[in-house]
């Protein structure tokens, strides 16, 4: 089983490299931009897949966490600290090397927080908010949990849309690049296009390895048992509340990391990233991928997001994901990518009588 897992990861790495080479050979390197962005969305989706498919907890608010990550990082790396540069706290930050000084368009000096520091703060904020929201909300089940997380998503959306300091409807732009190592930064610069593709997909590989390990561990087994029969899991000594909460926070962190990196890559973030339709899209993709199927979620997440970002769905973009969600729930609630798919198709076109039971 372990060898099988290694093989799958190697296959993923091979596909990622092959895709990059293919774009080079066919002179379609401009696809790399959307492929990079799909990589960051894929991070959100694999984290959500573990929460929904394995732990059995729905969230319609993960675009909120994506936005919390992205906005925190965007705000902190663009907010000009030079007017308060003499304050003791700012001097301290400066001494610690956490500030960067750049020139703005008019040649003035601008002082702002280093992207690494902003990244860490964004993740810490996400963890705190996820614990605060998840604590009470995860006591709910089924539709009620869906409604509550939807409420959380709506709040984040309305807050970023209504806050002047976060650019209101325009969002935050001119977010600087995020220098990971000297010579490689997360940004939209043309010279960094291939580097960024590998940064995004390197993160996806890393995330997949972590989550696959988790699925096949004691904790993964416990999460699946909660999904199957929560009362029995509890009677076996599993603190189901804590497990659900931890999984919720981990999936929120995956979403926030995607948000931070995509914001630096795009050089900005707008309120649409926090919208409900984004959350619905993530859930739809996890559903198409096969709920408890990390690989399915990854494949569907990359393909559908890529198509969407290339504009294949035109102005029906959101509608397409809504329709996908409805069709999946009606016909194959356990998702498209799974082994017994074909027997199911036969069933749907045959009698299809016990469809409801599988839901």
């Amino acid at each position: 089983m372990t060898r099988n897992r290694h093989l799958q990861v190697f296959l993923l790495i091979a596909v990622i490299i092959a895709t990059q080479l293919a774009t080079m050979l066919t002179d379609t390197q401009h696809y790399l931009t959307q492929l990079t962005m799909s990589g960051y969305y894929a991070l959100v989706i694999i984290g959500l897949c573990l929460l929904i498919g394995y732990a059995g907890q729905i969230s319609l608010g993960h675009a909120g966490f994506f936005a919390i990550g992205g906005y925190t990082s965007a705000f902190l790396t663009t907010y000009d600290l030079s007017p308060v540069r003499d304050k003791a706290f700012i001097v301290l930050l400066s001494r610690m090397g956490l500030l960067v000084s750049t020139e703005d368009l008019y040649g003035g000096q601008v002082l702002h927080l280093h992207p690494w520091a902003a990244f860490l703060i964004a993740i810490i904020c996400t963890i705190i908010i996820a614990y605060a929201v998840g604590g009470p909300v995860l006591k709910l089940k089924g539709h009620y949990l869906a409604m509550a997380t939807l409420g959380f998503g709506t709040i984040v959306y309305k807050v970023v849309l209504g806050t002047e300091g976060l650019g209101a409807a325009d969002g935050i732009s001119d977010v600087p690049g995020f220098t990971l190592l000297p010579g490689s930064e997360v940004s939209g610069k043309l010279s960094q296009r291939i580097t960024n593709y590998y940064i995004a997909w390197g993160l996806v590989i890393f995330g997949m390895v972590l989550l696959l390990n988790l699925v096949h561990s004691r904790v993964g087994r416990a999460l699946r048992s909660i999904h199957g029969a929560e009362d029995a899991a509890n009677a076996m000594g599993i603190n189901t509340g804590r497990y659900k909460l931890n999984m919720f926070v981990i999936s929120a962190v995956f979403a926030a990391i995607g948000g931070v990196f995509l914001t630096h890559y795009n050089g900005g973030i707008g309120p649409s990233e926090a919208s409900i339709m984004k959350s619905v899209r993530y859930v739809a993709i996890v559903a198409v991928g096969g709920m408890a199927n990390l690989w399915g979620a990854l494949v569907m997440g990359s393909v559908l997001n890529f198509l969407s970002l290339r504009g294949y769905f035109g102005s029906y973009d959101d509608a397409v994901f809504g329709v996908i969600l409805i069709i999946i729930m009606l016909f194959t609630p356990e998702g498209l990518l799974r082994r017994d798919l074909f027997s199911d198709i036969r069933e749907v076109f045959g009698t299809g009588k016990d469809r409801g039971e599988r839901a």
């Binding site: 972590l210 989550l211 390990n213 988790l214 561990s217 004691r218 904790v219 993964g220 087994r221 416990a222 699946r224 048992s225 199957g228 029969a229 009362d231 029995a232 899991a233 509890n234 009677a235 076996m236 000594g237 599993i238 603190n239 189901t240 931890n246 999984m247 981990i250 408890a292």
Partner: protein
Amino acid sequence: MAILDVRDLNKSFGGLQAVKDVGFRVTAGSIKALIGPNGAGKTTLFNLISGVLSPDSGTILFGEMPVQGMKPHQIAEKGIARTFQHIRLFPKMTAIENIMIGRHTHSRAGFISGMLSLPGTWKEESRIRNRSREIMEFLGISSLAESESTSLAYGQQRIVELGRALACEPKLLLLDEPAAGLNMKETAEMADLITKVRDLGITVLLVEHDMSLVMNISDEVIVLSYGEKIADDVPLAIQKNAEVIRVYLGEADA
């Protein structure tokens, strides 16, 4: 020595008093049965002991420790495991995986070490698996290890559920109608298994309607009626108890 000492336990749901001033002791290493007509409060009592419900008043001493009002997972950690009247196996998991869940309280790997797949977790995984195999062997269901739990025959599912509870290495095992839905042969096998479990030194408290099972294997029997304890004695005395015959056993069966 009593491993479980229940005193003056009360629980009501709205106007209905499901458990009324119930007190009893379970001797360590014995099998004690809890019988009574439907609605007598047996399952409620089980749920109070296993922490699914918390009592309105009264104490439950496990060993010397009060455990009333604790959460189910805390009670499991203290050494009380249970099975369910309506089998609650984990679907989409194999029989051995179900039993491996029972090892939860005896293993440690958390989210971080699981994600990083630290070498310590591999050793722990193989320990969990080996111990689960031993338990399946003990119960004579080794051949079912890799079958999906919910696809097994009903009687086999009951035994897997028993195995899952045993994997917790409990001091006290609560069995909620272990023979429900089993045929006579399966019931006899279940009775053998329960005595085998007792012989391991595990105390057993069970709720059961099958009187042949109860009278054959129990050391003591408690009878509940409308939430109250009406008798608590050895099986032979229970069978002769006029009150018990009136409310439960019935004249013809006696």
